[in-house]
Symmetry: C2
Subunit: 404 residues, 2 copies
């Protein structure tokens, strides 16, 4: 297989200098969502209660959250209807609502989409211009409303992350905006809330968590032993416990391991001092923007292909991944075989948890590959990714590898 | 060997509920101490600059820190002289000085003792009563001055921890006070600042870091896979890189790994959702209070003895420790042998980095064992430790095991 990617030049000799503050108060455990009232009351007396398709009403969570708010003397205004791949139009609506109602806090109850939508609303309320400016790179946010999060799925890690991903229906552009002010002031993590999550969404969440570590794990930054091992800790936890929760959806212990792993996978602890890649995420954003597939499923189809395409760039790193994360027996004479064995085990794992390992399984054919590649944002001198700088030609080949 | 300890009753069935917020802004890397001026300026225009024996003046660090403060328009008042096992009398002096000078921020430049002394001063300034009230358990602190930290040794993890340990010369009581308001607002971690640290102190620091994980790792809380692995990540990093820095004191990469490990070992990330033990720390506090030995050296002499005494309480956990942390080959038919092999490797490691594995090596004989045991604080129904609840009789036996 010909590889046309450009090797990183002027690579760092040491761990990168970094700043790190995960400023989100974590409130973890059984029954913890009952603490939402007093916790929110520290910041606000009137909040926007933001949620998705209404499953929180059926489950009773909505009533429990609002009861806790009322008991703490916190008024709320509802805004539901957040869809997967959350949309700008609803963000605009939320901003307007907050302004009209004099709301100064956004409480997100739901999945990563709900939390991201809440973050975007919180960014927009105090901003004079169009909130899309932040996502299009036209402006940097100086302030935002505080956000609180009660995730109902272990996946995106948005509850403690600096990232926010919104889809603009005008052109179906899916864009992210990363800023430390996006971090929620608190995240209430109750593993029980994920008991009713169907197997497919549970698996998609697990894949999303793994992918957040992958993006950071595959780096050219040398001398990052500790963060390698922290990332491996998160990956091994997800790999061990995902099959358990698929078998036993109400296994608190396994749900708890995955939930805490999901938060730590994306609050940037495992990225401290290292430069991540993020090509696969950006490519997947285009994919799920065009096809509206679940983010985790798109990542499942793309990541093994990306790995297969780039592993020669650092066979030793991929061999380490195979040995430490996937328990492949080391063979120092044949590191390439070991590296490939690791990628093969990832593929087997993805299949075993019921996710697609190809785009064909997602009913995505080759006919739109050119459009997808043409549309893809290429932030670094018309290349994508930092571990390996991919050209559009490389992206096309990765899609080919992912096709079937 | 007879074991008289009381087994834990009513042990938890699941991971513990927890709250976690490591609120310290981490500023990590080469040259990062030059950021102290602007960072401090966010909080204060007049600070107490707190340090130890004056080595920071010889090294030039003092001049660089004060230059950065001056450039940022931050005035400072000096208070040096913090000794290892920092003393209450100097804390009182610092409190008085802050009040007299109208100081509202304490900047600690030095080792864990300096940072702890700074935390105690920060607690005392806004408090009407005697600051020792917090350490003696008479009062809970409601507020404190903000503290900034520039550690010059990777060890205590005080730069981002909630703990503070002070020695009261009146009775030579060494006591700790844990409260989230003790966490510094920022920690500037520059591994270069640890280049000049002598081998013995470097090794003591490594032992202290390991001990902070040990205290959390040995727990009765079940279903703590992720935090087990995070702790193992920290331990393996220290075990790998300590021999490197002893050989090459100016190896930036290895110093950096150990420094970040030191912070993460004690900001309580690796303790989330689990109940730690802490018997060995409390016993060592009495020891170093009485004998003025280095904390890390005391821990080195005591921990293998504690492990040998208690491993039967949970052979599987000690076997896991042996296999995952010390690379002992698993042997499922003989878990006890595996557990003991892990403890033996810890002992070998301690010896290999030049630390004592017995109290005799610290010139501490049996003659004061009774006094030590009698003096020891026994917080839980006259027992010490939560993994295993040790009686005074157990402590005596552990000291015997540590004696030679």
């Amino acid at each position: 297989m010909p590889v046309s990617y450009i090797l990183a030049k002027g690579a760092a000799m040491h761990m990168e200098n970094f700043r790190f503050l995960s400023s989100t108060q974590i409130i973890f455990g059984r029954g913890s969502h009952h603490e939402v009232g007093p916790e929110t009351g520290k910041y606000s007396r009137k909040v926007l209660l933001h949620y998705g398709g209404g499953s929180i009403k059926k489950s009773g969570l909505f009533d429990q959250v609002t009861a806790s708010l009322q008991e703490a003397g916190v008024e709320y205004v509802e805004l539901g209807g957040v869809a997967p791949n959350p949309r700008l139009s609803l963000v605009y609506k939320g901003i307007e609502l907050c302004r009209k109602e004099g709301i100064n806090f956004v409480l997100a109850v739901g999945g990563g989409s709900v939390i991201d939508s809440a973050k975007a609303i919180a960014l927009g309320v105090p901003y004079q211009g169009d909130v899309w400016d932040f996502f299009s790179g036209k402006a940097e946010a100086q302030t935002s409303l505080p956000v609180g999060a009660i995730p109902t799925i272990a996946a995106a890690g948005s509850e403690a992350s600096w990232s926010c991903v919104i889809t603009n229906e005008d052109g179906w552009l899916k864009r992210s905006y990363n800023n430390n002010i996006n971090r929620p002031v608190f995240a209430i993590l109750n593993p029980e809330l994920t008991f009713t999550l169907p197997p497919y969404q549970t698996a998609c969440g697990a894949m999303d968590i793994l992918a957040h570590v992958f993006e950071r794990y595959f780096t050219n930054t040398p001398h990052v032993d500790l963060t390698d091992r922290l990332g491996e800790a998160v990956m091994k936890t997800v790999i061990k416990h995902t099959p358990v929760v698929l078998r036993e959806p109400e296994n608190y212990d396994a749900r708890a391991e995955i939930m805490w792993a999901g938060t730590l996978a994306h609050n940037d602890l495992v990225g401290t001092g290292r430069i991540g890649d993020w090509a696969t995420h950006i490519l997947e954003h285009e994919l799920s923007g065009m096809y509206d597939v679940a983010h985790g499923a798109g990542l499942a189809a793309l990541f093994p292909a990306w790995m297969t395409y780039v592993y020669r760039h650092d066979v030793y790193r991929f061999a380490q991944f195979a040995v430490r994360v996937w328990d492949v027996e080391p063979d120092f004479r044949h590191p390439e075989e070991i590296a490939l064995a690791g990628i093969a085990r990832l593929r087997q794992f993805i299949r075993s948890i019921g996710l697609p390992v190809s785009l064909a399984e997602l009913k995505i054919g080759r006919e739109k590959f050119d459009e997808l590649v043409a549309k893809c944002r290429m932030p670094n001198d018309d290349t994508l990714g930092k571990f390996v700088r991919l050209t559009r030609d490389d992206l096309r080949r990765i899609l080919e590898l992912a096709a079937e």
